[in-house]
């Protein structure tokens, strides 16, 4: 599958079909003049409350970035980035520190201005139509920031009010429930642990039910159990039609959640494809073979050796069969043999090391049809 093809089934949402299959869930069935069912007044647990509003012109991409560049002093933070994210995608933005991910997100959020290029959220330019662009975007910032004057509930109410939603308690209660913060609703923000503060940040980003949600390292400092419940909630939002853009250092999270992934390095996108395609393009099998010796014909596939333990890199299972045949032919007894599949971390490391890149830079800006 190429990057231009729709990522059908690429998202790993556990049920309800792939999010990519129904990106218009909120765009086509709700009039812009009317709130979606249950919006702003849904009882706790009602999934309708999570559905984003009917913003935009129904045809625009969730995010469209064209030729964005930004320099800070001597550092070219972004160097002509093109990117399109379709409605309803669960999209991953990966890269090492300093790659430009947060700068790109800041430009989308209107926190940073681009030197050149343009960016649109659901068709709304982030500079010339910033009010609409910000209404349809929710951002979980990377920094753990909070206002020490207020309680959790006050914080969420205030954030809701900034978007003009002043009677939003039903949705705030639901957010508190999903984020496991109900028992801390009246606690001052200063009294919360780091993980709880992080979850309040998530709540603040979702409080106006934005159709496009950007999560910049949302699970940093959040323990494993709560991370799972947080992802379950985010997956649910994605199934309900919200577009999710995620940056994370936990690559297994990106692999499990994201339908497509862009990898950034030094202000440029160096890989952009569906997660499955990235994994398959860089696929490989690592064989750990414990044996007295290696068949002579396979010496060139040796990656590492520890005594009588050999690590071989194979391209496919067909090659594995040939390896086994060679072992039989040379009457080499196998003490132990284990296999490991390529994961996103290995793909990421290979791309960041510069040994692999996407084959056609023109494809970087392509987006699957939604």
């Amino acid at each position: 599958m190429s990057a231009a093809e729709p990522p059908q089934g690429a998202n790993s949402a556990p049920s309800g079909g792939s999010a990519a299959a129904k990106p218009q869930a909120w765009g086509d069935h709700t009039s812009a003049a009317e709130p979606p069912q249950g919006a702003n007044s849904a009882p706790s647990g009602g999934s309708a409350a999570a559905k984003p509003q009917a913003w935009g012109d129904h045809t625009s991409d969730a995010v469209e970035v064209i030729g964005i560049a930004r320099r800070f002093g001597d550092v070219q933070a972004l160097d002509g980035v093109d990117l399109r994210v379709a409605r309803g995608e669960f999209f991953g933005l990966l890269g090492p520190n300093g790659a430009g991910k947060t700068t790109l997100i800041s430009i989308l959020a209107g926190l940073t201005r681009a030197d050149r290029g343009s960016a649109r959220i659901l068709g709304h330019d982030v500079v010339t139509d910033y009010r609409q662009a910000r209404r349809v975007l929710g951002v979980v910032p990377q920094e753990l920031v909070f206002d020490p004057f207020f309680t959790v509930r006050e914080t969420l109410r205030i954030q809701s009010g900034y978007f003009g939603l002043r009677h939003n308690d039903a949705w705030i209660d639901e957010l508190l429930h999903h984020l496991d913060l109900t028992h801390k609703a009246d606690a001052n923000m200063r009294a919360l642990s780091g993980g709880m503060k992080r979850r309040v940040l998530v709540g603040q980003a979702l409080v106006h039910k934005p159709p496009v949600i950007v999560l910049d390292e949302p699970t940093a400092g959040v323990d494993v159990e709560l991370r799972q419940s947080l992802w379950a909630f985010i997956r649910k939002l994605n199934r309900d039609g919200h577009t999710i853009i995620l940056t994370t250092h936990y690559l297994e999270e990106a692999e499990a959640l994201c339908g497509r992934i862009a990898m950034m390095k030094a202000g440029r996108i160096v890989a952009l494809d569906t997660t499955q395609h990235l994994l398959s393009r860089f696929s490989g099998i690592t064989v750990r073979l414990s044996a007295p010796r290696l068949p002579s014909a396979w010496a060139n596939r040796l990656q590492e050796q520890e005594g009588q333990v050999f690590y071989l890199g194979l391209d496919s299972y067909a090659e594995l069969e040939r390896l086994l045949a060679s072992l039989r032919e040379e009457a080499i007894a196998i003490d132990e043999l284990t296999l490991a599949q390529t994961d996103l971390e290995q793909v990421f490391l290979r791309i960041m090391a510069g040994t692999e890149t996407t084959d056609d830079p023109k494809r970087l800006a392509e987006v699957p049809e939604s």
């Binding site: 959020a109 201005r113 009010r131 209404r135 920031v145 205030i158 900034y162």
Partner: protein
């Protein structure tokens, strides 16, 4: 309707937040400045009541002092509210919660300045109420509308200056410099404690270049019907300053100066 809700009033929440912010620490933000003003009143009136003659002896010095102290409290607290709110939000990083929503520069300006005005006027009212009890003799308001106009405009100007300083300063030290080397001297040298007619000619002339002088002199006219400068001139100058500073603050907000990198 959600859409209509979204299109109205985000700035009202920011204003509400600004009011909650100082109300939650009202001992520090309201009671303490009222007490400070009272201490000024007690000490200066005790020391100078019998030694200083103002407006040709038509007004007792202690009574003369009251509107000056009220206005000084209004101005200083209006400045402190907007500037401290912004610098704290910038340094702790939570200003992002104001920058992410669809608030326009005018929304932000209105909320921060109205919040600052509310605190300034609340402290001013507090000082005035307590002095009514403590200062012997009647303290009539000859032109209450004029007094209110100067108090409102003065608090708006200092609230706006607070916005400008809060945006400009990158650290508390820079804000303190703005406050201690600009706001404080201009306030103290504006005729809070004296009539400029008691000054030598050079200092009298210099006082006319102090914008705070016009605010306090006009406010005092509202109390006694007496002033060093014609109140219409003061009002025009103060209103012009309010418009110019508002334009500067709005331009900074629209540019995202030091807010949106």
């Amino acid at each position: 309707m959600i859409l209509q809700q979204v299109r109205t009033g985000g700035w009202l929440t920011l204003l509400h937040k600004e009011l909650l912010r100082f109300w939650k620490v009202s001992f520090q933000t309201i009671a303490a400045p009222v007490l400070t003003a009272l201490l000024y009143l007690l000490i200066f009136s005790h020391v100078l009541e019998s030694r200083v003659s103002v407006f040709g002896g038509q007004v007792r010095y202690t009574a003369f002092l009251v509107p000056g102290l009220v206005m000084m409290s209004v101005l200083q607290n209006a400045f402190a509210n907007a500037s401290s709110s912004l610098i704290q939000s910038k340094i702790t990083g939570n200003l992002i919660f104001v920058l992410l929503p669809p608030l326009s520069p005018l929304d932000m300006y209105a909320a921060y300045v109205l919040g600052a005005m509310t605190r300034g006027l609340a402290v001013g009212l507090g000082v005035f109420a307590v002095t009514l009890v403590l200062v012997p003799g009647p303290l009539a308001l000859a032109h209450p509308v004029v007094a209110i106009a100067f108090a409102v405009l003065g608090s708006a100007i200092l609230g706006t200056l607070g916005v400008i300083a809060g945006i400009w300063a990158d650290k508390f030290d820079e804000l303190a410099a703005f406050q201690n080397f600009l706001i404080m001297p201009l306030t103290f040298l504006s005729g809070v404690f004296y009539s400029i007619h008691s000054l030598p000619p050079f200092w009298q002339t210099l006082s006319h270049f102090n914008p705070f002088f016009y605010m306090i002199d006009g406010f005092r006219y509202g109390f006694f019907g007496l002033s060093d400068i014609a109140p219409a001139i003061s009002l025009a100058l103060v209103a012009a300053a309010a418009v110019i500073l508002a334009a500067v603050a709005l331009a900074m907000l629209a540019r995202g100066y030091k807010l949106r990198l």
